[in-house]
Symmetry: C2
Subunit: 377 residues, 2 copies
DNA sequence: GGCTTTTTATTCGAATGCGAAAAAATCCAA
DNA sequence: TTGGATTTTTTCGCATTCGAATAAAAAGCC
């Protein structure tokens, strides 16, 4: 019998990731994918099978030679929790190894919620999910609005929860659940979700556009999230911004391109106009709109994206949040306008697309944090 | 006698780096700095002493205990070459382990220079440097203008040398010199020089502003250069840019803030005005200038930097190129204007400073590439 | 069936690095 | 002078990983 040393969890996770993603199906292909020797892979696979993370499911005969012993992941090996919240609501989602959603819990938070109440609600949500699953919880990801120190695991600031300042979230949640807890800004978490659940499997450079009540972006360069020296990268809502339609003097970007501002501009109503009950529906009604309002909004987005592309050269922009309701036509209009305004963008190829993740994007992002911690790339 | 295995060059280099930088002076401190065990460090140090990269120079008695055997680098262990060029001139510089400049060679290139001539000039420059040094050449860094694929070692495009397209520089230089050759865009190389030779020893997030004939920036996030999906990150010269003084319609950023454009604006002359013979001197004369021209230039720079800071949150901006002749007062004016225009910037601390590297910045940047390859962080 | 060919998995010896313990080098106090 | 006390360095055994050789499992061919 082979000896059974304790391997690095990191490499074990990476191995599972390769199998999960279908990039490796046998010990030999796994060795190539991980860049380690076949002999070592054998040991790793032994352990992963012993720990019930992997299965051997029959043989696969190639054109010649000894057949491969096919490796598959076991969805029941464990699950990951992802929790996202804002000042109004909290959503927790459970996913298994294959990325399938096991369950989702949404809870409305009380008005003027406090940090303590949020922490309690997170714990409650996760335990609700746990009640419906028999397999063990492997890790928890938290998508938190506002400023986040991901490394320290501290929520630094969030304007809409007054006492959300320097909250040691990872410590408070982790000490209760006894599994790894990973914290990240919610928009940056969504950027990871795009890789784990969305269409961007192979992307390593892209930008998430997240216009909601403000205007933030999350940037991924070389597969890594850009956080900034003070955890504030992507907070471009305060860019000085002269409107495309020339009305009004220079203002800040989020006054022009936040989700509510975009609705107001497209709807052709003034700043005082009441927002529709459901902003998403309100925007969906405007998806087929034409005319100068549409053009001017598209031009503003095109200029923002053009600037980002020239500066960071990511090439791919994924639109998130309520504005996805404006559909692919919106993104196409922006792309076209951008290329007209800044022909230089055409050279490298500019892709602007709406996200396919839907309403669960935030929670899926949080779950991605959990998965990424367990299965590092 | 201890056995003498062949260690990873990477770790050997990292060890030398720690000693070089003064962060580690003995085997024990070196072990802590590198995060490896003291026993292993002993082996590494043995090898480095055998290879004449390190010296043991006496003992250092602490307040108690066995005295440390002090480790020092040997400047004569080898040297690094850095080469920078543009369409007009080529500069090669040789530095030793301590970062001291051994020699510098400047050569004027012929008008309408070709890629082949540049390659030859690079080889000639390095061999000129080599002639004056007895110690071995360890690696060569090349700071190349235009688009560069650093990973592949290929110069992709440079507008001012017509046939500079997809030039396999690393291959062509490396095959002659038989040492590692590292390629990078020249402005990005300068960003590294700021860490190796400038004041930014401990910086891991900063931006290099390099307004010359165009307007480019180099960004470092978490200690890593941002290159972009198509190696074009930082080429923000083509941002649409409405001038601060309101004259003229919207144009591109480099028309407003390149080094010549800045001189013209500060000098108060029109677009057709002839540039001074030496732009640096011309700018130096304007360093004490006051008035609306000065204010409007500062405001434009403040807006650019403000946008970058809000987006990438690096906190530190280092001005390079001819505009450094405008001195610290220029940077202070910009800082002040930026904080007035965008008070949000004040929170995290904004620092805008002129580079201290001087005219050799480009060549020193190239040398930094060589050093960083040999001594990875 | 017995042979070769091809591909995959395992075994085995060696290399590299770590942790714990031992040794070394100094100061200080008795 | 001798015996701690303290800190640095080295020794030694063990764990992990790799490379090369070997074994295994099939297909094709005679």
């Amino acid at each position: 019998m082979r000896k059974n040393p304790i391997f690095q969890r990191e490499t074990l996770g990476a191995a599972v990731l390769q199998v999960r993603s279908g990039r490796a199906t046998s010990r030999t292909t796994l060795a190539k994918a991980l860049g380690i020797s076949p002999s070592t892979v054998g040991l790793y696979v032994d352990q992963l099978i012993a720990e019930r993370f992997l299965n051997e499911s029959g043989l696969n005969q190639g054109p010649m030679g000894r057949p491969r012993r096919i490796l598959t992941t076991r969805p029941d090996a464990g699950w990951f929790a992802g929790v996202e919240f804002n000042a109004q609501r909290i959503q927790a989602i459970g996913v298994d190894f294959s990325g399938a959603v096991l369950a989702s819990v949404v809870q409305v938070l009380p008005a003027e919620v406090t940090a303590d109440q949020v922490i309690k609600a997170i714990l409650l949500s996760v335990s609700k999910l746990a009640a419906s699953t028999r397999s063990p919880l492997l890790s928890v990801g938290l998508g938190v609005p506002g400023l986040v120190d991901a490394k320290a695991g501290v929520g630094l600031h969030y304007a809409f929860i007054p006492d959300w300042n320097d909250v040691p979230v990872v410590e408070r949640i982790g000490s209760r659940l006894n599994v790894p807890v990973i914290l990240q800004n919610n928009l940056r978490a969504i950027a990871l979700a795009e890789r784990w659940f969305g269409g961007g499997h192979e992307l390593s450079n892209y930008v998430i556009l997240g216009p909601r009540s403000g205007f933030g972006v999350a940037m991924v360069q070389d597969g890594k999230l850009i956080e900034g020296a003070h955890h504030a990268a992507g907070e471009m809502g305060r860019w000085p911004w002269p409107l495309a339609d020339g009305k009004g003097s220079s203002q800040e970007l989020h006054h022009a391109l936040s989700a509510p501002a975009t609705w107001r501009r497209l709807a052709g109503v003034g700043l005082r106009a009441k927002l529709p009950e459901d902003l998403r529906e309100g925007l969906a009604e405007l998806a087929s709109k034409q005319g100068p309002e549409w053009d001017s909004v598209c031009e503003d987005f095109a200029r923002v994206i053009g600037c980002l592309q020239l500066l960071a050269d990511t090439g791919v922009f994924i639109l998130h949040g309520p504005l996805t309701m404006l559909g692919t036509r919106f993104c196409e209009s922006i792309t076209q306008t951008a290329l007209e305004l800044m022909p230089a963008l055409g050279a490298a190829g500019l892709r602007i697309v709406p996200s396919t993740l839907g309403d669960d994007a935030g929670a899926l992002g949080a779950a991605s944090l959990a998965m990424e911690a367990w299965m590092p790339a």
